[in-house]
Amino acid sequence: MNNPVSYAIKSLWGNKWSSLIAMVSIGVCFFIITIIAIGLYNLNVFTKNLSNKAALVISLKNNTSQKDTFQFIEDLNKKDIFSKIKFISKEEALKEMKDLVEPSLIELIGFNPLPDTIEGFIKDEKLNKLEEITKELKNHPYVEDVYYPSKIIYALKTLKITIWNSGILVLSLLSISILFIVYATVKNHYWQKEEEIEILKLLGATPSYIRYPFLTEGALLGFGGSFLALLLIIFLFFILYSKETFSYIPAIKNIILPFEVFYLLPFGGLLLGVFSAFIALGKIKYQ
C-alpha cells in the first residue's frame, strides 16, 4: 500500500469488469456533459453574434433624392448610435432578391418594388434605447418605415435562457450521476478490503495513508472516464468537420470546439473522481 498509484491500479484491475463498466458509464456521462456544455457555449456565441449582426433596416421614401440620402446617412453617422451603416440601393436589393427568389417571379411584377434602404448596426450600449431611436427615425421626413427584428431576438434570448437553465440542470444531474458511480465503485472496493484496512488501522496507519489508494482509484476512474469522453468528442468533431460528412448542412462547420475542453475535461474528471472517492470513504474511525 506504500505506492498508492500501483495499489489503486491493482485494485481496479482486480475488479476489472466493474471498474470498466464504471469508467465507461462515467465516460458516457462526461461525453453528454461536454456535448451540452459545447452546445451552450455555441449558443452563447451565436446569440452574441446575432445581437451584433442585428441591424435596423430603414426604408427610405421613393422620392428621396440621392443627395438627401447621403445627407441623411451623414446625419446618422453623427448621432453615434450605429457602429456601422450600410446603404443598399433598390437595385442592389433587387439583385440580392433574385438570388433568393425565382427571377421569373420578380419579372412578373414588372417593376422594382423594393425601396432604397439603410442598414444601421446599433452599438451594444445603445440597444436599450432601441424603441426611442426607432420612433425618432420613423418621424424623419425621408423615412418610410423602420424594421428591427426585436421580437425574434427577444424570443431567441428567452429560448437561450431556457436552454441554459435546462442544460445546467442536466449537467448537474449528470455530475451527480458520476459522483454516485465513483462513490459506489470506491465504496465497494473499500468494503472488499475491510479486513485489510482494519489491520492497517491496528498497525497505526493514519487516515490519509488509508485514503490515498482509494482517492487515487477515484482519480483514475474520473480521469479515465473523462479521457474516454474526450476521445469520443475528438472523434465526433473529426466527423463533423470532415469535408464529406454533413456537406448538406454547412452550418455544422460553424460549431466551435473550445480549446478549454482539452484540459478542463480531464482535469474536471480527475477532481470529481477524487471528490466522490473522498465522500465514499467518509471519516476513518478508529474507535
Partner: protein, 216 residues
C-alpha cells in the same frame, strides 16, 4: 507510563470494568489474569485506543485517552503495539511483507526496512520462513510473526491478548521467552491470559480481574 484512574466501561448497562485504578511503570512486565469475560481484553483495548472509557481517565505515555482525537490514535498505536489472540495477520502476504507493514506505514524507506525485517525475523527464529505465505505457517509460527510485527518498530509498550492460547506448552514457553527478551530491552509488556501456567512463580506483577474489578 500507563495509569488508570477510576475507569469504568459499560456495554449497554453491564459494567465490564468498574473503578479500575492501575499504574504500570516504564519497562515493567505485567500479567492481567482472570476468567473468560472478566474484562481483560476490554482493558487492553482501552489502552490501545480501540475503545473509550465511559468514566475515569487513562494515560498512556503522553496520550490522555479520554481526550484523544481520532487523528492521534494512529500515533498511539505506534507507541503501543498489540499481539492479538487471532494474530490479525494478512494471510495472503508473505511473512516478510507482514512484518514490514508497520515500517511502511510509518514511512520508512525500503532499503532500511529490509535489514530491520530480516534482523527481527532472526530474533524470532523465522528468518528461514521470510518468503512463506502466512497461511501456510503453523499457529506457533504465526504467533511469532505477530510478535515480530509488534516489536519491529521498537514500541514503548506491547500488549498481548492470550498470546499462548492456541499454542502447545513448548511453543508457549518459547513465546514467553521471546516476550521476556523484548522486555529486557526496556519495552513495557502487558499480557492478558487466563492460563495460570504462564504466570505461576513469575517475578512480575500479576493483576487479577474478576467481574470487572481489579486486584493485585
Amino acid at each position: 507510563m500507563i495509569e488508570f484512574s477510576g475507569v469504568y466501561k459499560y456495554y449497554d448497562s453491564l459494567a465490564v470494568l468498574q473503578n479500575i485504578n492501575l499504574k504500570i511503570e516504564k519497562g515493567e512486565f505485567v500479567f492481567i489474569t482472570g476468567p473468560s469475560g472478566a474484562g481483560k481484553t476490554t482493558l487492553l483495548r482501552l489502552i490501545f485506543g480501540s475503545e473509550k472509557a465511559d468514566e475515569g481517565e487513562i494515560k498512556v505515555g503522553d496520550f490522555v485517552l479520554s481526550k484523544i482525537k481520532q487523528s492521534k490514535i494512529p500515533y498511539l498505536r505506534r507507541f503501543v503495539t498489540f499481539v492479538f489472540q487471532d494474530f490479525k495477520l494478512r494471510q495472503d502476504l508473505t511473512v516478510y511483507d507482514n512484518v514490514a507493514l508497520p515500517l511502511l506505514i510509518s514511512g520508512q524507506k525500503e532499503r532500511d526496512i529490509k535489514q530491520k525485517v530480516y534482523d527481527t525475523l532472526k530474533n524470532v527464529n523465522l528468518r528461514h520462513r521470510a518468503d512463506y505465505i502466512v497461511r501456510t505457517l503453523s499457529g506457533g509460527e504465526q504467533q511469532r510473526v505477530a510478535i515480530a510485527r509488534a516489536i519491529i518498530t521498537n514500541p514503548r509498550v506491547i500488549l498481548a491478548d492470550e498470546p499462548t492460547g492456541n499454542l502447545d506448552p513448548d511453543t508457549a514457553n518459547d513465546v514467553m521467552n521471546l516476550f521476556k527478551s523484548v522486555n529486557a530491552l526496556g519495552c513495557t509488556l502487558i499480557i492478558a491470559t487466563h492460563n495460570p501456567e504462564i504466570f505461576r512463580n513469575t517475578p512480575y506483577r500479576v493483576f487479577h480481574l474478576k467481574e470487572g474489578k481489579i486486584s493485585q
